[in-house]
């Protein structure tokens, strides 16, 4: 079994309707992470929540519009996350960004299950 390596989980809490240069912010963050070859990114929609504005946004509240919560998660080595933070800073006008240390095991095997860690895991 591959040994876990130290990594950082970056979570960005924004609203579905937040925009960056005309496109959804969460989508722009994922595209930027892809462009900067981060290990991966995942977006989770939240059915309800509130944040800095104090207004409760809920799926069942029609007035909420599309201000529903979106959480973007990125896990990568600490130095790569540190490098991504200034980029993120330019993109997120309002929202919340959190960091936590995690142990990570990256899997990328060929179909023959030859085993072996991904290049990222070795970094």
């Amino acid at each position: 079994m591959m040994a876990p390596t130290q990594a950082v989980l970056l979570r960005v809490f924004v609203a579905e309707s937040d925009r960056f240069h005309g496109r959804p912010l969460y989508e722009a963050i994922v595209a930027k992470a892809l462009e900067l070859k981060m290990a991966g990114a995942t977006v989770f929609p939240g059915p309800e929540g509130f944040g800095h504005s104090r207004s409760i946004r809920s799926e069942i509240n029609v007035d909420a519009g599309s201000r529903l919560p979106m959480v973007i998660e990125i896990v990568d080595a600490k130095e790569r996350i540190d490098g991504f933070l200034p980029v993120l800073d330019e993109m997120v006008a309002t929202g919340l960004v959190t960091l936590e240390l995690v142990q990570a095991i990256y899997y990328q095997r060929d179909r023959a299950r030859s085993g072996g860690a991904s290049p990222r895991a070795a970094s």
Partner: protein
């Protein structure tokens, strides 16, 4: 079945299309966790993402692919999680597995000492969730 206060949160980042034999991988992981009597498992569905397991999951661009991100979360005692990791290792072809420390305040209906635990937590009981 009980959970200790100091536990581990195991998260498995995979995708809807990942398979274990013929079954969806996330379903197989949940079934295996149940077989091994782990405390529980929760499957979360992402709407967009990319990673080792897949190309960009983008429902708008690839409406037919349905290859969306899936995260399976399992919380249990460290030894139970450690026993599960080699089994999981056999099942994973691509994707990401993360481990972090977690404090358990309630499991099912059992929450004996919950108030005490919260009090200890607030009074600065050593909380190592951010230390791996």
């Amino acid at each position: 079945m009980d959970l200790p206060h100091d536990a581990v949160l195991l998260r498995i980042f995979t995708s809807v299309s990942d398979r274990y034999d013929t079954d969806p991988l996330y379903g197989a992981i949940v079934a295996k966790a149940r077989d091994m009597q782990l405390a529980g498992a929760t499957v979360l569905r992402g709407t967009l993402g990319f990673g080792h397991s897949t190309k960009l999951h983008q429902p708008h661009l690839f409406p037919l692919a349905q290859d969306l991100p899936i995260v399976v979360e399992i919380v249990d005692a460290e030894d139970k999680i450690n026993a599960f990791l080699p089994v999981l290792d056999e099942m994973m072809e691509s994707g990401l597995v993360t481990l972090e420390k977690a404090k358990v305040l309630q499991y099912g209906r059992h929450r004996a000492g919950l108030t005490q635990r919260i009090k200890e937590h607030l009074l600065g009981h050593p909380h190592r969730s951010t230390q791996a």
